[in-house]
């Protein structure tokens, strides 16, 4: 007797359809699972046996073979439990094969027959591509976010069996309605002073320009950074779906709805490479870079991150995807983030201002060796943030609130869309001639900066993109003016590696 039940597994952030083939034949009684199951998957044997018996089905006293096809991909985790259990019930005659036709199953089973949720329900349901799917009660809300299949939520195998046999209606468990936690949005209005940094945040959000803030402790870098996600417009449906799948694959419940707001992820500087870019030896999991997809990845104390961890960011920042390759598999995960970083200029924190740092030379050199030039080069905007004056903190006027800035950001992004990109930072170098022509005064300025060595050839295009964003924010049409290019140059400070740039 043979049956095939559709199910799925997650690799990285993508679901992969898996056909669970169950064969009941002659031989010594027992259950064998083949098709590259890992340890947690092979344990399904014992869980399924107890669960099926708990559901009131007599365990067949013959040889059961379960094949997980395609057998070349490694199967990890317990999400295939439910499909295996159903397959066993079908082959042993407890359920008619016709009654499971076209239904996909995903979930873990307990020894008492309970059906439990598994991470990644969104990509899993998507990958099964069935008209009807059966999941655990806790997974139902997330599963329904996928267009198409009818979602059935069951609490245990017993009630699943009755429902499939038509002896009872599908159970109508109350769906867990966890409204998304109302995160208090940090408003830009609460930032006093720091006119330039506010401006940099706005330009960064509008053009998706990576931003590096350098300043002494207490200058407000972290406070500024935490406000930038609020400046980004809502995600469109396609990106929202990608982001939701990523978060689902990382084991988060989406709590009632696609993730519509850009995420703000701020991993601590002790983060490992796997936790930042994703990976792992057995199961590939999305890293912070993917979890921040469509939103902001904030790296506070940039120079404290491991140098190899930081260098691993370079390729994803350029391509917008993370490619994780292991001996047995590889995985591609979306990772288009706005990178915002903050760092002290040196261990004592004062090196920014010429003549103020008192760090020993060696300590400075060690500190700066942690940052590679190519990574620093990815930051279109690099500003020094000084501690605000006390008057500014106490009596200064409050600035614009986030909503006012968002309105300008949205307009600027609309102008970028007309150029065929989401934001100006994604414009290709070759298309700048077309989209960002310059007045003679502006190009003369850039030529001079290049000649004087104040600007590298690599930096040229980046300055131009930033200038374009500045122009967009001001609703400026026509060629870029010298003022906009000067401002873009001003916002791109060379990161001084070590003291004594002059001598």
């Amino acid at each position: 007797v043979f049956t095939t039940i559709p199910s799925a597994i997650v690799v990285g952030v993508d679901g992969h359809r898996v056909s669970v083939e169950v064969h009941l034949g002659n031989g010594l009684p027992g259950l064998t699972i083949v098709g590259l199951p890992d340890a947690s998957c092979r344990e399904a044997r014992d869980r399924v046996r107890a669960a099926v018996v708990a559901a009131g089905v007599t365990w067949p006293n013959r040889r059961l073979t379960v094949n997980l096809a395609p057998s070349s991909t490694r199967k990890i985790g317990s999400g295939l439990d439910l499909a295996i259990a159903v397959g066993v019930m079908v082959t042993s005659g407890a359920i008619d094969p016709e009654q499971v036709r076209g239904i996909g199953f995903v979930g873990e089973v307990g020894l008492d027959g309970t059906v439990r949720p598994v991470p990644g329900i969104l990509p899993l349901v998507d990958a099964m591509d069935c008209d009807e799917v059966v999941v655990a009660v806790a997974s139902a809300t997330d599963a329904e976010l996928v267009d198409g299949p009818k979602v059935r939520a069951v609490a245990n195998l017993g009630e699943l069996r009755l429902a499939l046999r038509g002896e009872a209606p599908w159970p109508d468990h109350p769906r867990p309605v966890a409204s998304p936690p109302e995160v208090r949005r940090a408003d830009l209005r609460e930032v006093r002073g720091q006119a330039l940094a506010r401006r940099a945040l706005e330009i960064s959000a509008a053009g998706a320009h990576h931003l590096l803030m350098i300043g002494p402790p207490g200058a407000g870098k972290t406070m500024l950074a935490s406000r930038i996600a609020g400046l980004l417009p809502d995600l469109d449906r396609e990106v929202a779906m990608e982001v939701s799948r990523i978060h689902s694959a990382a084991g988060q419940t989406l709590a009632g709805g696609l993730i519509r707001r850009p995420q703000f992820r701020a991993p601590h500087h002790t983060a490992t490479m796997a936790s930042l870019v994703g990976g792992g030896t057995e199961a590939v999991r999305p890293g912070e870079l993917s979890l921040a997809h469509g939103g902001v990845l904030f790296l506070d104390e940039l120079a404290e991150f491991g140098p190899s961890v930081l260098d691993a960011l370079r390729q994803p920042l350029e391509e917008g995807v993370v490619r994780v390759s292991r001996a047995r598999f590889s995985s591609t995960m979306p990772a288009r983030v706005l990178l915002v970083a903050a760092m002290n200029p040196c261990p004592c924190g004062e090196a920014g201002e010429p003549g103020r740092c008192r760090c020993p030379d060696g300590a400075l050199a060690r500190y700066h060796r942690r940052l590679s030039g190519p990574l620093v080069d990815r930051f279109d905007l690099r500003i020094d943030v000084a501690r605000p004056d006390p008057e500014e903190l106490l009596g200064g006027p409050t600035g614009e609130d986030t909503d006012a800035v968002v309105a300008r950001v949205v307009r600027a992004r609309q102008r970028a869309e007309a150029r065929g990109v989401v934001a100006n930072a994604h414009l290709r170098g070759g298309s700048l001639e077309r989209w960002a022509p310059m007045e003679p005064g502006a190009s003369a300025l850039l030529a001079e900066a290049l000649e004087a060595g104040r600007l590298s050839a690599r930096g040229l295009d980046r300055v131009r993109r930033v200038a374009l964003t500045i122009a967009d924010l001001a609703d400026h049409d026509g060629p870029l003016g010298a003022a906009q290019v000067a401002a873009a140059l001003g916002l791109r400070a060379e990161v001084r590696l070590g003291m004594g740039a002059v001598a």
Partner: protein, 393 residues
């Protein structure tokens, strides 16, 4: 002046002694005074160091026999004559106090300077020299000032001695290197370093150190191949102070190497001049302390000439360093920017807030001032150059 050491073996042994950890100028001087340096070396090699009074003192200083055993072990790895030949091969002059070529200002110095290694024109040490010293972490204005002073002195035939460190020291010498070629009778650069002359510390100044050696003179108390230990730097400063007719401190925090150099100068009755700065800047603390203690406040190079007894000479040469500012006359905003930068460096953000202008306006003005040579950018900070800090017409 001590008795000259003429025997080649004795000279070689003295150089070999200088290679050993824990043996400084005082011990070397004691060895020379005691005479028979090669005999002391033999005793050290054969493990009888404690029978040499000067070496026994080293053992007592740093607790006992272990040190002497370490010295002996180290000494056994060295062959004095090979060490000396190595210096000859590199074209390094080995100068021992008492040699005819030994710099006269260093002979018989209160803190003994028994042994020097030199590369370059020895005659430079006999010329009138002025020391320009200051902090490694200098501002652009400080470096410009050091460079201008060095240049102004060099054009009057006065040499400049400094420590080839980052910041002020390097800026002074760098300015001189540029003027050396072609012009006759300019003062030579003299660099006193704390490492062996085949090493460079800081590494960034490798090129500069080589040029100073080619156009002037490099001096060190340390044999070839010996890396600088911490105590070598203040020791180096006393050589600078002893060589100079006057010591100029351009920028320094209230403690640090430059202040030690000033102290060494005072101990030798060498006049100290300090470039006053704004009290709000940390690098002005050192010079202001010195002025409060009676140092001369340096206004221009004439003050230096007066201090070394050469005042009142006609100025045959232009006073400015490098090309003057382009024919830029800053507008009102430019003047406001320069005024704000006159006190201390500012970030772009501080300028935008302080002047209450837009980013575009301030950034455009800064670009203009920068190309006019009035403002320099250092990372995200802007500083006035020496031209920009001068009162505008």
């Amino acid at each position: 002046m001590t008795a000259p050491v003429n025997d080649r073996t004795d000279r070689a042994c003295l150089v070999a002694f200088a290679c050993l950890d824990g043996i400084g100028p005082a011990t070397l001087a004691a060895l020379v005074e005691h005479g028979a340096v090669s005999d002391a070396w033999e005793r050290l090699e054969s493990g009888r160091a404690s029978s040499v009074p000067a070496l026994a003192a080293v053992g007592r200083r740093v607790d006992g026999t272990e040190t002497l055993e370490g010295l002996t072990a180290h000494a056994r790895q060295l062959d004095p004559l090979t060490v000396l030949e190595r210096h000859d091969d590199h074209g390094i002059d080995v100068l021992i106090d008492g040699d005819p070529a030994f710099p006269s200002r260093l002979a018989g110095d209160p803190s003994p300077i028994p042994l020097l290694f030199a590369s370059g024109r020895l005659a430079a040490a006999e010329q009138v020299l002025v020391a320009i010293v200051g902090t490694r972490n200098a501002t652009r204005l400080g470096c410009d000032t050091a460079g201008e002073l060095a240049l102004a002195l060099a054009r009057r035939g006065i040499g400049v001695v400094s420590g080839l460190a980052l910041g002020i020291d390097g800026a002074a010498h760098r300015a001189m290197i540029e003027v050396q070629g072609g012009v006759a009778d300019v003062g030579p650069p003299v660099g006193v370093v704390a490492a062996g002359l085949d090493l460079t510390y800081p590494r960034r100044h490798q090129g500069l150190q080589r040029q100073v050696g080619e156009q002037g003179l490099l001096l060190s108390e340390v044999p070839l191949g010996v890396a600088p230990s911490r105590w070598r730097f203040p020791a180096r400063n006393r050589v600078i102070a002893a060589l100079a007719r006057a010591v100029i401190v351009v920028e320094s925090p209230s403690s640090g190497g430059s202040m030690l150099t000033a102290g060494e100068a005072l101990a030798r009755d060498v006049p100290v001049l300090a470039v006053p700065g704004h009290p709000a800047t940390p690098n002005a603390a050192g010079p202001l302390d010195l002025i409060a203690d009676g140092a001369v406040a340096l206004r221009d190079v004439e003050d230096v000439l007066v201090a070394i007894g050469r005042g009142g000479q006609a100025l045959a040469v232009p006073d400015l360093a490098g090309p003057g500012p382009l024919d830029a006359t800053p507008g009102p905003l430019g003047r406001a920017v320069l005024e704000a930068l006159g006190v201390r460096p500012r970030t772009l953000g501080q300028l935008v807030t302080g002047l209450d202008r837009t980013l575009e306006e301030v950034a455009s003005e800064l670009v203009a001032l920068e190309s006019a040579g009035l403002v320099a950018r250092s990372g995200g900070w802007f500083e006035a150059t020496a031209h920009g800090a001068r009162p505008l017409p």
